[in-house]
Symmetry: D2
Subunit: 162 residues, 4 copies
């Protein structure tokens, strides 16, 4: 663990993509007593970052090449609320990639693996000038090598046998 | 201004709904040099809160009655990035309300009123037990009295027929 | 206002330094119903940024020269809580500068100008390599030209003789 | 792990108090490429929450009794910056408790256990009306039973005699 503390925190690759557990802290809640809606985007971004990490892609390496992933579009359904102290599971799965675009499904699960939030995302890889950059072969391979979306155990709101 | 500092900060009602100006600060950016994607949801929430405020609806009053608005669904297109020190305009306009649901279009504009982010939202009013609460007549009236969505100067960019 | 929306949002220079009004939104609160303690640092950073802005110093210009202000030390007293919808006044005043260091007093005031939070900060100017950079003469002049700390209408509450 | 996912995420009790590992994500950084200063307060709050958790104290239980911990005072030295993808260790150790007050030392360590941020905090336990509440015997016992501050492996770096 000391040798690679990063990986110990980075969740795990699954048949459907990636899974990460995260705690709800004070900072995630608002005065209604529930988790603030925008915080789920933070949890999902952590999931994406750690998924990429375990696929061998590090933000700093991308940045050194002047490229970065940006979110182009999100569709998010907020179905049930999370609360302070809850332990959430963030599931991320590839749903396709083409050119500079990468599609992902993500979900945030609460106790008993109930789906709290479900999202579809389109990411793009952009270069220094903000222009789209084609996904490098290594990246494309990583996502193609990733388990088939048919397994669909992320972001589906349903049918999980997990 | 001293007499009602709140209203001075709360933006203004427009033909299409509401408009609020906000600055991009350090906290809104990330290491790519751009505004972190989830922060646009914060800017949009500020716009919604101030729109409601100018319609006479205050979160604390709702909370005193055990009710609160929650976001049920968002579709967000992130089209162009904002950067540190930018001044953003957040536009909010009603797109319909029925039962416990309220639909809004929101957009975040940068310099020259270029649309940076465009979103469609479904909000719900929920009671203490988390169950949907019908929009009170006063609230419904406020949104019906609000300018027609035809004016569509908020969140349009996309002529969605949705 | 249209011509310079930035300055309209940037608060105002005062005898003691700078004053900025900001609203408390959902994002600033936590499940206890009060403002989350770390959020006061955001409010204070906004105050510092706008103070510098009105003195003619912009973060992007500094960044273009590879330099940035960083916070080296803070002493913060959290005296009274703020709540959703509150309008806060953030006061910032210089307390001395030497070499690469800049000392500031900041306070966050609530209704009736009651002090909610009071802080002393040491900032440093650092270069690309993270090494301290001497305050440029223009910057030093700006802070020396700034009103005398004797006026002390910012962050005082504590009669610090520093 | 499935049985008690919370504890698996909650770090561990140490001779000096508590230790928690956390990753730096996009949300923690700003446009200078470094971690935003206020984010270290988030990391430290997570450490405190998990320390209390492992001592058997849960925020929701406190809240059910109408009480909550609030930060009264912080002294923070920001010594070295953290960056995206870094794995941080947050150390928390008790430094005394009396009446309604609890003193803690906290530090955030980076690679090679170098101290990045060091802090002294005073917390208070407050009741519903915002008034100080004496630490319950169980709480006091927990902190007294906690390892002696002499061990001082948290937040020391500075041997403050304060």
């Amino acid at each position: 663990m000391e040798e690679d503390p990063g990986d110990a925190l980075a969740g795990r690759l699954t048949a459907g993509g990636h899974e990460l557990r995260q705690r709800v802290y004070f900072e995630d809640t608002d005065f209604t007593g529930l988790v603030y809606h925008a915080r789920y985007l933070h949890f999902m971004e952590r999931g994406r970052s750690d998924y990429l990490r375990l696929l061998g892609i590090r933000h700093l390496d991308l940045a050194a090449d002047g490229i970065a992933f940006v979110v182009r579009r999100m569709e998010i359904d907020f179905m049930r609320p999370a609360r302070i102290d809850d332990v959430l599971t963030i599931r991320t799965g590839p749903r396709g990639c083409s050119g500079a675009r990468l599609e992902l499904a993500q979900s945030v699960l609460g106790e008993g693996n109930r789906v709290l939030v479900s999202a579809r995302l389109v990411l793009a890889l952009i270069g220094a000038a903000g222009r789209p950059v084609r996904l490098p072969p290594a990246l494309r391979a990583a996502f193609t090598a990733a388990p088939s979306p048919d397994r669909a155990d992320a972001g589906s709101t349903a049918e999980r046998s997990a």
